[in-house]
Symmetry: none
Subunit: 230 residues, 2 copies
Amino acid sequence: MVKAHILYVEDDETLSMLTQEHLEQQGYLVTHKIDGKSALETIRNGAAYDLYILDVMLPEIDGFDLATTIRRKDIETPILFLSAKSMKEDRIQGLRIGADDYITKPYSMEELLLKIEVFLRRSKVRQSTAAEVVSIGDIEFEYQNLILHQGGEEVTLTQREADLLMFLWKNRNQVVRRSDILEALWGEDDYFLGRSLDVFISRLRKYCKFDDRLKIENIHGVGFKLKCPE
Amino acid sequence: MVKAHILYVEDDETLSMLTQEHLEQQGYLVTHKIDGKSALETIRNGAAYDLYILDVMLPEIDGFDLATTIRRKDIETPILFLSAKSMKEDRIQGLRIGADDYITKPYSMEELLLKIEVFLRRSKVRQSTAAEVVSIGDIEFEYQNLILHQGGEEVTLTQREADLLMFLWKNRNQVVRRSDILEALWGEDDYFLGRSLDVFISRLRKYCKFDDRLKIENIHGVGFKLKCPE
DNA sequence: TCGCTCGGTTAACAACGAATTAACAATACT
DNA sequence: AGTATTGTTAATTCGTTGTTAACCGAGCGA
């Protein structure tokens, strides 16, 4: 079970690779982006994270701009800033909203892990409540538990299947481009991952057969559309 | 996914040919013009670009004049200037609006490609938002979702059909030249693509039958005009 | 360590569909 | 009338997609 999905934005390649490895060892799912633009892109395309770790010093769009932009859409998810020692505290303070916090570089892994722990525990308390259940036609979909209720029957999905279904559902009755799906769920877009996506679509279609109002349509050369009532 | 369309204005033939090739290899759709006059012409004729790359030193109308003229109609699209090393920064600074930037010659391809990436990604982020719906007579056109609502009926367009319809709509009640359509949507203009265009026009006409105030007129030897109310 | 299971990817091949090309009729210009 | 352009439908082509099965590495228990 994945503990949490972290979006980690850091332009220093060596440092980021190291950190990412470390976090993954701890059981976190880490999506690493080297700049603000690619980070924003994954977010825009519907990827959902439990925590953002943003380096403050980034080329083009810096950590603050990034945070500001994120906050326009998502006021919930905590942000952890990584700032240089010399950074004036007040800029960070000015941006901090609720749970946000920062660590000054250089930091130790322990320090980082500790902050993360604290963060996630805190926001977990805030959310927790009932596992969200969405209705897709006559099918009930528990994303967190990877369960699909089809009348009396219960099907267990894999994480990927659930992610893809959720992504389609969030954009239901709209055209979703292949490349956006791949970017959001796989993090990259190449021929083979594209074929993989087709395989998953094929599987989801089988689940959808339970309610024939549900259809995953293909838009040739463009992407897919989950057609469902409501 | 439609590739990004770049208008590249550069009078040095060797350099421009090289650059164009390179950019096309990267999957961009490049329209190259050797002077300001012809560049302005394609723009006036309704071609829509995602990025302008303008050499500063051009005969007749230079890059700055060109940019100024472009900005009168189009304040959105980013402009990338190519300037000689010796160029005073302040002139460029004075012209830069928002996202614009410049590269000094000589530049490496990597440098150029990087800038382009950054630009395009940025403007992509800026747009996104809700699917825009345009009304063409009694027909509602959701470009992003490739949908045409004709009263209760719903038709799904192909990407090309949608692109063409959008192009005509953006220049509605105006004559659009065949060559400009081809340049803008196909990136090149030859006999066969021209026939292909005719086939698409024919299809769009069928869709337009739903509201008989809509007409796609042919201007013999020149192009088409989408006539619609408003 | 071996072999099993599981999820995801890759392979293979059939089926499909959008865009192009072809063909021919209709129309406009000279 | 004669030629070029356009309208329209049909045939062709070739990349995209659907689907099933094989493959492969990670994790796990014997």
